[in-house]
């Protein structure tokens, strides 16, 4: 009985820490000095850049991203584009070859042998890459004209190993899910990532709309093909090797958010599994790293445990139910009730509501903020699938099982233009 009570109080204390962290980020983003990225630095000597786009059965979207990258505001003699045809069974291969025939700086990589998955594909592409800077986009992204110049401008700061840009869903209006995902992204990038950059904490490289130094990653042995979240793994590997990861809020890029709950469930379960694999591997190296300050370690720790929190909360719920039926409801009465009721229910379910609201306000949004209470339902949804992902990660470690990469389904109609995608 005592253990159950102690666990509940522990869960509440952890929630308070995360709630205060969200509040600090909100204040930092809204009121404090904003740390700008390097895009205003005018550099006459641009670096060579390789853009890598992993693609697995991406015939619906392949031509759009390539068209946009061809029009990018970056000298084509310094640009190399490597679209990776990763075991595609549709017309992706033909599309890439058509583009390669027309544009000499597009060098497709066709993979039908070897290890599958994004990290393995990236490793092969790195061998072909000629650019000093590598920028990665997922195939459904719609990069704006200036984004290559924006992202690559970090190169002149010798401390920076990787940079992450802002992801903005383009299909927001499709249904309630895409609207809610748009809000989550707003809170996550406009406030969370920028605040972590402001406060010199740990912005996270997200695996797309981001760039890194080719030589650094190659010297570290490339991407780990055993980890599903190669982006989070890269973040912590760079940090523990003395490199900084930064965030560019100005480098915005549109993406296609999942339009069905099934696809979303699979996506966050995969993220959770990958993120928790990284947590298990990097917890100790991060805490003992001589390159990180105390506050970076604290933020890095909280970031590592982000995908472990839902299971902790789920267990806290089971715990409180057990206490209820065991006749120990008096733990909720009196002073502890303030902690339990207030913190568990508010921050447990709505932890980032003020963060998301502030992000939407800064973005100039209006009516979509009204959907904030709907996040309650997302909380239960996220809790369940993220908890499953954590359990899978633990099982991976125990059994040595290797995770299989699963592609996120695309919803765009083939051949639809950027404008049509926005209008949907």
């Amino acid at each position: 009985m005592l253990i159950l009570k102690i666990y509940l109080i522990f869960a509440v204390c952890v929630l308070i820490i995360y709630a205060l962290r969200h509040f600090l980020f909100t204040l930092s983003r809204l009121l404090m000095e904003q740390r700008i990225y390097y895009q205003d630095i005018i550099n006459s000597e641009l670096q060579s850049v390789t853009v890598i786009i992993p693609m697995h059965n991406e015939e619906k979207v392949a031509s759009q991203i390539l068209d946009l990258l061809i029009r990018a505001d970056y000298p084509q003699d310094l640009l190399q584009i490597i679209p990776i045809n990763d075991f595609s069974e549709d017309a992706t291969s033909k599309t890439l070859d058509d583009y390669a025939a027309r544009y000499p700086f597009i060098n497709p990589l066709h993979r039908y042998q070897g290890e599958r998955g994004k990290p393995a594909a990236l490793n092969e592409a790195l061998k072909l890459a000629t650019g000093e800077i590598i920028i990665v986009f997922d195939a459904d992204y719609l990069p704006p004209k200036g984004i290559i110049k924006d992202i690559s401008s970090f190169f002149n700061d010798p401390e920076i190993g990787a940079v992450m840009g802002r992801v903005v869903p383009i299909n927001t209006r499709v249904n309630i899910l895409t609207r809610l995902l748009d809000m989550e992204r707003t809170g996550g990038y406009q406030v969370d990532q920028q605040a972590r950059y402001n406060l010199k904490l740990v912005p996270q490289y997200g695996g797309t709309v981001g760039g890194f130094r080719r030589d650094v990653i190659i010297s570290m042995g490339g991407f780990d093909t055993n980890i599903l979240a190669e982006d989070t793994e890269l973040t912590y590997r760079l940090l523990t090797h003395g490199w900084k990861v930064i965030y560019s809020n100005r480098a915005e890029c549109y993406e296609e958010a999942p339009e069905t709950w099934t696809v979303r469930a699979r996506q966050i379960r995969r993220w959770s599994r990958g993120h928790n694999q990284v947590m298990i591997r990097y917890l100790w190296p991060m805490l003992t790293s001589r390159y990180l300050s105390g506050k970076e370690k604290l933020d890095g720790l909280l970031l590592l445990f982000v995908y472990a929190m839902p299971l902790l909360l789920l267990l806290a719920l089971c715990d409180s139910l057990a206490l209820f039926f065991l006749g120990e409801m008096n733990i909720f009465a009196g002073a502890v009730a303030i902690l339990f009721v207030g913190v568990y229910n508010t921050f447990g379910n709505f932890a980032p509501f003020y963060q998301i609201g502030t992000g939407a306000l800064l973005d100039g949004a209006n009516k979509r903020i009204l959907l904030l209470p709907m996040l309650l339902f997302n909380y239960f949804f996220n809790t369940w699938y993220i908890a499953l992902g954590l359990l899978e990660a633990v099982w991976d470690v125990i059994t040595g099982r290797k995770a299989k990469w699963q592609k996120t389904r695309r919803f765009r109609k083939e051949g639809k233009s950027l404008y049509q995608a926005q209008k949907r």
Partner: protein, 257 residues
């Protein structure tokens, strides 16, 4: 077409409000409101019980509803409205367990948004726990109506104490004048007083008329959890209004520093 004025891009815009002012306003709101609640909660809970009793009087025989007192924070009295106790039969509990089990299976296959389905499953699992409990070990159920009323009323007092704090954290940093925000916090509290009173009457009716089998579901799913929906809802409505207003006043935005 050329623009006559280019506003700050959303990526680095911010507002300028001294952090000390925020702290000062936070204390200015939270301290007095908390004190007012601590001083007046006996009277508020008394009124709450009286209103709930008046609502329920037509549905109960005379003398079935009783208002009692207990000691709570600062050794003050808290008022509780209690009604007749009703326990489920073993057969009812067993049938309810089966119904919940079937419901949980149906929810996994039914074509509704998955987030709603999972939330409904959460409700069903809580209720199924209760039905199984009353099927297997009903004699171990440790609560009387007074216990539940105590839990409910003390919990909502804590929520009332929590509302000024969470609402101040959420809205005081926003770019608007102080008094409308203060008004909003007070409005949220008033809404909470009314909502919790009506909910108290509904809970009491369900527990008395349909048995204690619903106690866990009522507390865990429709108790404090629901309170934070309207708190976030009121915040959302206000922030939406503010966002609209700020569109007409771009000068509020500052850049970087």
């Amino acid at each position: 077409m050329t623009k006559s004025l280019i506003y700050y891009h959303r990526s680095y815009r911010k507002i300028t409000r001294p952090r000390r002012l925020f702290l000062f306003q936070f204390l200015l709101v939270v301290v007095p409101i908390t004190l007012i609640i601590l001083i007046f909660y006996p009277e508020i809970t008394k009124q709450m019980c009286l209103i709930a009793r008046n609502i329920l009087l037509p549905s109960f025989p005379p003398g079935a509803l009783e208002i009692i007192q207990q000691t709570f924070l600062l050794n003050k009295d808290v008022y509780l409205l209690i009604g007749p106790e009703s326990y489920p039969s073993t057969l009812t509990s067993f049938i309810s367990s089966l119904v919940m089990l079937v419901l949980i299976f149906i929810l996994q296959g039914v074509k509704i948004d998955k987030n709603i389905a999972i939330f409904a499953t959460f409700l069903a699992v809580i209720h199924m726990s209760s039905t199984i409990y009353f099927t297997l070990v009903p004699y171990m159920f440790a609560y009387t109506f007074t216990d539940f009323a105590e839990l409910y009323v003390k919990t909502i007092i804590c929520i009332w104490l929590f509302i000024p704090c969470i609402m101040s954290m959420a809205i005081l940093p926003l770019p608007a004048s102080f008094f409308p925000k203060l008004f909003l916090i007070i409005l949220t509290l008033i809404y909470s007083f009314i909502f919790t009173t009506l909910r108290y009457a509904i809970f009491l009716y369900i527990l008395s008329k349909f048995s204690f089998i619903y106690m866990a579901l009522l507390f865990f799913a429709f108790g404090p959890l629901i309170d934070f929906i309207y708190i976030v809802g009121i915040y959302a409505v206000y922030t939406t209004y503010l966002a609209q207003k700020l569109k007409a006043n771009e000068l509020v935005w500052k850049w970087l520093c």
